[in-house]
């Protein structure tokens, strides 16, 4: 964790800049420390040199005095004049040394005093030399005086020597102290130098590393960009669109390669400009396009235009052009956009619209056909039935037995036709009718249905039980029709030897059932069951029976129009629900209606 954090810090250029700043500050600090150390080293070296030289010069002075002494003694002994010539009291010899010493001790007041004293001593010694020489040179040598003088000179030289040695020692001590300091400072400056080097190396290394990392990233980004660019160009080609860019400040146009290909030209076959591209826009659309474009340049509002291009070969293409305004990297306003070849879609849309129109007119035809069926056919049928009922109630006496049978057959057929017509009307209403979804109390509805079918129910001596049913959002009259059909079926297809038992109840969806690739679960659907103990049918027909006009039973015993269950399915479809059936011959049937819980 810490490593990652550090790494992140490392990568973060801000932190890095700060770190670099600190590092440089530290280096400067150490460098300045080093410099001061060097300076002090320098001065201590100077001091040592100074002291040593002072010592030397002082020694030189002493040695000159010694030489003078020796030469004088030698003269006194040998009386050789040559020892006095260039080796005795030479003018300026000691002076130059003393000057040197003066220079050397200029900064040290104590030493200056000492040198002054020394100079005095030298003066006196010279005076003694001169006196001694005088004595030695006299015709009347006074050896006692000479000896005394020599003795005095010796003593004085001794004194001078002591003095000088004292000074020399003092300088020597100074040298020692400075030497020690010098050692310290040398060590310190070595450490500083070392630190300096290490830090500098570190900074160098880190910077180098970071630079490498950054370069690597840049390269990666660059490569990605290159790749993107290539794929983009490819994509343009494949998808059939081209892009363009207008730099508003410079008034320059840029078109992508595919832009040209879209209008049937070689890439970059003309200089991109409004004038040049206008040559290819369909003359009828040109004014509109130009106007919209120019307006947008003023208002900087995005444009979305569809217009035609006329290709060099005369082909017409429908292009959708979308553009919007933004600023480029330099802050200049640009309009960028995409042109998309819509020709196929356009053609398809037109086709669709035409198909739609056709469908509409077919629908209208069907509707009027429907109207004929539901109204105009019912009228004559109604008459037939009425007249039959008149004849049967009034005129039967005058008709033969055979005639009566014929009439009853006519009546049956007419009733059948009536049922079929009613069913057809019901079916068309489930397709067309006003679809008003409202909260429908299923219990109330079912009870109403039972009321309406009460005579039929009594005839068959049927027993109907209704459980607790939910309130659903539904088209009331359609759901009513649904139950009418289901219950009527159960009554119709009942077994001869037993009284029909019909139960209508709501059930929880236990195992999630699957229908049409969708899971039907308790949360989403109500399950309402209409169960009977009728004649049933083979389960393999479970889907077929919902098909329009499909009937399983033929024969007059069970009359049906083949519409009832198709209507049920239609109604359930209208509610986004499902209907399924489980059945077994001679046992009964169980119709399951699934209605969605939310509308």
């Amino acid at each position: 964790m810490k490593n990652i954090k550090l790494l992140k810090l490392y990568k973060n250029s801000e932190i890095f800049k700060i770190a670099l700043g600190i590092a440089i500050a530290v280096v400067c600090y150490i460098a300045s420390v080093f410099y001061t150390q060097m300076r002090s080293l320098d001065s201590s070296v100077n001091l040592i040199a100074n002291a040593t030289e002072t010592q030397l010069e002082l020694e030189k002075v002493l040695s000159i005095i010694s030489i003078y002494e020796t030469n004088l003694r030698t003269y006194i002994i040998t009386k050789d004049e040559s020892y006095l010539e260039n080796r005795f009291l030479r003018k300026g010899e000691i002076e130059s040394n003393l000057k040197e010493i003066d220079k050397l001790v200029a900064n040290n007041p104590t030493r200056v005093k000492d040198v002054k004293r020394l100079k005095g001593l030298i003066e006196y010694r010279f005076a003694l030399f001169r006196e001694t020489l005088l004595l030695a040179k006299s015709k009347n040598p006074n050896s006692a005086a000479l000896n005394a003088k020599l003795q005095e000179s010796n003593d004085f030289t001794e004194i001078m020597k002591n003095f000088v040695y004292k000074t020399i020692n003092a300088e020597g001590d100074k040298v020692k102290i400075h030497n020690d300091n010098h050692q310290f400072e040398l060590e310190d400056s070595m450490i500083s130098a070392f630190l300096l080097v290490i830090l500098s190396l570190l900074i160098l290394l880190l910077s180098f590393n970071k630079m490498n990392v950054d370069i690597a990233e840049l390269k990666k980004t660059n490569d990605e960009l290159k790749f993107l660019n290539r794929s983009f160009n490819n994509a343009e080609k494949i998808a059939g669109f081209g892009h363009w860019k207008i730099n508003l400040e410079k008034d320059t146009y840029t078109y992508s390669d595919n832009f040209f290909r879209l209008i049937g030209l070689e890439p970059q076959s003309f200089t991109p400009s409004l004038e040049n591209i206008s040559k290819y826009i369909h003359p009828d659309d040109l004014e509109y396009v130009t106007r919209m474009h120019m307006d947008s340049l003023r208002t900087h509002k995005p444009t979305s235009l569809m217009y035609r291009f006329v290709l060099p070969d005369g082909e017409i293409k429908y292009i959708m052009s979308v553009g919007s305004f933004t600023k480029n990297g330099k802050g200049e306003s640009v309009k960028t956009g995409v042109n998309y070849d819509m020709t196929d879609q356009f053609k398809k849309t037109i086709e669709l619209e035409e198909n739609n129109k056709e469908l509409k007119s077919i629908n209208e035809e069907l509707e009027s056909f429907n109207n004929i069926v539901s109204h105009d056919l019912q009228e004559p049928l109604h008459k037939i039935q009425m007249f039959i009922s008149r004849i049967e109630s009034k005129e039967m006496d005058g008709i033969s037995e055979q005639g009566k049978i014929y009439f009853s057959k006519i009546r049956t057929s007419a009733n059948k036709m009536q049922t079929l017509l009613i069913d057809l009307v019901n079916y068309s209403r489930t397709i067309k009718g006003d679809k008003v979804f409202e909260d429908t109390d299923l219990n109330g509805l079912v009870n109403q249905v039972i009321d309406e079918l009460s005579s039929n129910i009594e005839d068959k001596n049927a027993e109907i039980t209704v459980g607790d049913l939910p309130v659903v959002k539904a088209i009331s009259f359609q759901i009513e029709q649904l139950f009418i059909n289901l219950i009527t079926n159960s009554l119709k297809y009942s077994q001869e030897d037993r009284a029909p038992k019909i139960s209508i109840f709501s059930k929880n969806i236990e195992e999630n059932e699957i229908y049409d690739n969708e899971i039907i679960s308790n949360e989403k659907y109500y399950k309402i069951v209409v169960e009977d103990n009728g004649i049933g049918f083979k389960q393999e027909y479970a889907e077929k029976i919902f098909v329009l006009f499909q009937r399983l039973e033929t024969g007059s015993k069970y009359s049906g129009t083949g519409l009832g269950l198709a209507i049920c399915k239609r109604i359930v479809d209208n509610h986004d629900g499902f209907i399924k059936v489980l059945s077994e011959p001679n046992v009964g049937s169980q119709f399951c209606v699934f209605l969605p819980k939310k509308a």
């Binding site: 049928l381 009922s389 008149r390 009536q418």
Partner: protein, 150 residues
Amino acid sequence: MISHEDSMRILIADDDEDDRTFFSDAMMELKMNNNLTLFNDGKELMDYLANPDIMLPHLLFLDLNMPRKSGFECLKEIRADLRFKDVSIAIYSTSSSEKDIEETFIEGANIYIKKPNDFNKLKKVIKEVLNVNWQFHSSGLNKETFFFSI
């Protein structure tokens, strides 16, 4: 003002001759002592009603599908005229479309009858309609909410 007749005055407008016959036969067989007038179509009916001197009918049966003036149009016109505010109007049609039924009630019909296909049923229906209508009149029930669909 309902005037001096000893029975209910009933008007029926139906363009179909047979239907008119059925209706009058049924009324006759019911022996309910009513005064029945038949009209061949809507226009005839409205012309008759336009006359201010007529005696107001108690009950009016209108077939929906009539040429020249449909039952629906007659309904609207009659209800627009306050003279007939106490007249019960029954729409009489082969259509059993819920939408049609509701439309007629909304426009002011009181009764809607689906033409039955059996003569005996027709008699029953008429009898019940007349009964219900009388009950409303005699019990002082609210005209505005008098609806009966059969």
